[in-house]
């Protein structure tokens, strides 16, 4: 029995990816984990005093909420799932979690429709990097990886 890690942020575009991960976990009878990284890099734009620890905590709660929605979606389809929230750089935390949890398949979402072609290339590049670093298979639903 393998372990599927679905990296997701929530959002309409992510639902498609979550659904794909749920279907695959059911088909393969694999364990399913939804994954979210709290990244507060955007706070560089806040030109005023702020408690980054409190903001980080709020985004952590938001991430847990989004993953709880994904877990509930899986349960509605008869698949038990769990959630992991990490803090820090998305790529580094993803690679670390893949190794620590013994993940056999990573599911990544493709950029939303209004995003640029450049961002799709970024996701493909990330997929290649995960494969290189961990040897774990990466799947982007609807996208063929070389």
């Amino acid at each position: 029995m393998g372990k599927i890690l679905c990296a997701t942020r929530g959002g309409e575009a992510a639902i498609e990816t979550q659904e794909a991960a749920i279907r695959r976990a059911i088909d393969q009878n694999d364990e399913l984990i939804f994954f979210y990284v709290v990244d507060i890099e955007f706070l560089v734009h806040a030109a005023y005093a702020l408690r980054s620890d409190i903001v980080e905590e709020e985004i952590d709660k938001m991430g847990e909420f989004l993953l709880a929605m994904a877990v509930e979606r899986a349960e509605q389809q008869g698949k038990q799932a769990t959630a992991i929230v990490r803090h820090g750089n998305f790529i580094e935390e993803l690679i670390k979690t893949v190794t620590e949890e013994g993940i056999t398949l990573v599911v990544l979402g493709r950029p939303a429709n209004d995003r640029s072609r450049f961002e799709l290339e970024q996701v493909k590049k990330l997929a290649r990097r995960i494969v290189d670093k961990t040897g774990t298979e990466v799947w982007i639903p609807g996208i063929e990886l070389p």
């Binding site: 942020r9 734009h45 030109a47």
Partner: protein, 584 residues
């Protein structure tokens, strides 16, 4: 033995913790004493001289603005040693005294000021007669012409470079401001040693341009907000909006916008959005709508609401301190206009999002609703009560501090100290909350603006705007509001507002009827409301976009512009209408 040691060590630690606060209190005390114990004006001191003849006058620039620190010499012969010599006061006035022993036949005045062409004036026979008869001669205004030398061009180029670096984000804005300061001082002090024309000002004079009221007010409010952030009040308020709306999304949006506007006015809009956006996003998912339909109206309301008070926007703090506005001045002259603009924004939002708001709620499972409720709980009731009492006291100090000669900066520092002593005594953590980068940015910015003011760029700009509006006050008001709104939508409104302050002061001095500071309020309206035009127009927009992006709902530049620009047209028009109703 051990117990005694532990006790002594704890006492030492306690004393060590108190030292910074004692120093701070000492500074406040010295400042307060200095304000009450100000030295008598130079004229009063000079008046003690036993003289029968006095010559008074005023030195102004070509725009009619007083010129301070100009040297005025009185001589009996052209080029001779001065009989008396003085410097003009901040209002441009001067008073020269002629000793009894001197019997004047001819009198000459030499007026000199750096960055101006000098004036040599021979007093004419009627003036001499008046002086002999009356004992005092009041001269017509002496007009000094600007001298646009190398220092003017070097400083102007540096100022433009700083603005470009900030606008393009090629450098962090604090670094851009410090770079500009370094260039100006190098040109002025090192270059000035080689060529006099490169001299701008010395370090002491530069520091006179730094508005420490702004620095202290910002610092005090940063600490106060830092403590309030811990209580969870923002998240709780957002959840109460959800509860009160009872599933009506349009009502939820209006309540959230109102709560956001009020908290932005009392605290600041960036903090408000940082803490309300995550919970608002979860609420949007709970009612089954796209979170952007709540978040974007919220951030628009936040930027408009911040305009209502002195402490709601950094631009208001700048304007208030420069023009000497109290907390109550903003409440009287701007808050009703902000309410009017918010009503317009409500209407615009309901029209814009009518389809989303009419959607039926998808509803969440009881487990997710329980999680949402848990995420919005007050973290520490006791801390909230204490913080609420201190903040209430601070608001009272802001409102009633004016008759007590308590400037907002000192009120904020007192609030911060009480907050730290009573609510959150961890000084180390709280010092980390103070955004020193921003404070240093403001100091650098003040020096750069001081330099461009010194070399004459500000008065030239004011003169050009004055000519453009041809002394017409309503036209000047429209120009200030809309110019500020347009520019604030494209670039950071803080450096723009700081640069505009002396320009507006010049305009207020030269345009008939503008002496009641209405143009400063016009600047505040434009600078705050213009921030809603683009995603980069205000920090609150960027941090909201950052949070929604992390939830998979990106706010693109184009999407924000499509919603923000019409909102600016609505709110700025209503703000302008209020200014006209109130001031004309």
């Amino acid at each position: 033995m051990d117990h005694t040691k532990v006790q002594a060590s704890a006492t030492r630690r306690g004393i060590k913790r108190l030292i910074p606060w004692l120093c701070l209190l000492a500074i406040i005390a010295m400042w307060t004493i200095a304000r009450f114990d100000a030295a008598p004006p130079a004229h009063a001191q000079e008046g003690e001289n036993d003289s029968h003849h006095a010559i008074a006058g005023r030195v102004v620039d070509e725009q009619g603005t007083p010129v301070s620190e100009a040297t005025v010499r009185l001589t009996l012969e052209e080029g001779a040693e001065p009989t008396d010599e003085t410097e003009t006061q901040p209002d441009g006035s001067f008073l020269l005294l002629l000793p009894d022993s001197v019997e004047p036949h001819n009198l000459y005045l030499e007026v000199n000021r750096l960055h101006f062409a000098g004036q040599h004036i021979k007093l004419e026979r009627p003036d001499m007669a008046e002086l002999q008869a009356e004992g005092t001669l009041v001269l017509d205004d002496i007009v000094l012409a600007r001298r646009l030398g190398i220092s003017f061009w070097a400083t102007t180029a540096t100022f433009v470079l700083m603005l470009v670096l900030i606008a393009t984000e090629r450098l962090h804005k604090t670094l851009a401001a410090l770079l500009a300061v370094a260039i100006i001082f190098t040109v002025s002090l090192v270059g000035g040693g080689i060529n006099d024309n490169l001299y701008v000002f010395d370090f002491e004079h530069a520091l006179e341009f730094v508005d420490f009221d702004v620095i202290f007010l910002l610092m005090g409010m940063m600490i106060v907000i830092g403590v309030i952030e811990e209580t969870g009040i923002f998240q709780w308020l957002a959840y109460q909006a959800y509860r009160l709306s009872r599933g009506h999304v349009w009502l939820l949006s209006l309540i959230l916008m109102s709560v956001t506007a009020i908290t932005s006015a009392m605290l600041d809009n960036v903090t408000t959005m940082l803490l309300m956006a995550p919970i608002s996003l979860q609420i949007a998912l709970a009612v089954g709508i796209n979170p952007l339909a709540l978040l974007i109206p919220q951030v628009l309301a936040s930027n408009v609401g911040g305009l209502a008070t002195l402490v709601g926007e950094p631009t208001n703090i700048l304007i208030g301190s420069y023009a000497g506005f109290s907390f109550n001045d903003f409440l009287v002259h701007l808050t009703p206009g902000v309410v009017l603009a918010l009503l317009g924004l409500f209407g615009y939002t309901l029209l814009r999002y009518r389809k989303q708001y009419m959607q039926h709620s998808a509803g969440l499972s009881p487990a997710l609703l329980a999680r949402l409720k848990h995420n919005a709980e007050i973290q520490d009731i006791d801390k909230l009560k204490k913080a609420g009492i201190v903040f209430g006291g601070l608001l009272l100090l802001f409102i009633f501090g004016e008759p007590l000669h308590l400037p907002p900066a000192i009120a904020a520092i007192i609030g911060a100290v009480v907050m730290l002593l009573w609510v959150h005594p961890d000084i180390e953590q709280m010092m980390g909350v103070v955004d020193w980068t921003t404070l240093i940015f403001f100091i650098g910015l003040f020096i750069v603006i001081g330099a461009v003011e010194e070399v004459g760029l500000i008065s030239l700009t004011a003169g050009a705007i004055g000519r453009l509006v041809a002394g017409n006050l309503p036209l000047a008001m429209l120009a200030v509001v809309w110019l500020a709104a347009i520019i604030s939508g494209i670039v950071d409104n803080v450096p723009f507002t700081a640069a505009m302050l002396p320009v507006v002061a010049h305009l207020s001095a030269i345009i008939p009827g503008a002496g009641n500071n209405m143009l400063f309020y016009a600047l505040a309206v434009g600078a705050a409301m213009g921030g809603n035009t683009t995603l980069i127009g205000a920090s609150a927009n960027l941090v909201t976009a950052g949070i929604s992006d992390r939830a998979g709902y990106p706010i693109t530049f184009k999407r924000f512009l499509a919603i923000g620009l019409p909102s600016v047209l609505v709110t700025t028009t209503l703000g302008t209408i209020w200014l006209f109703i109130h001031f004309f």
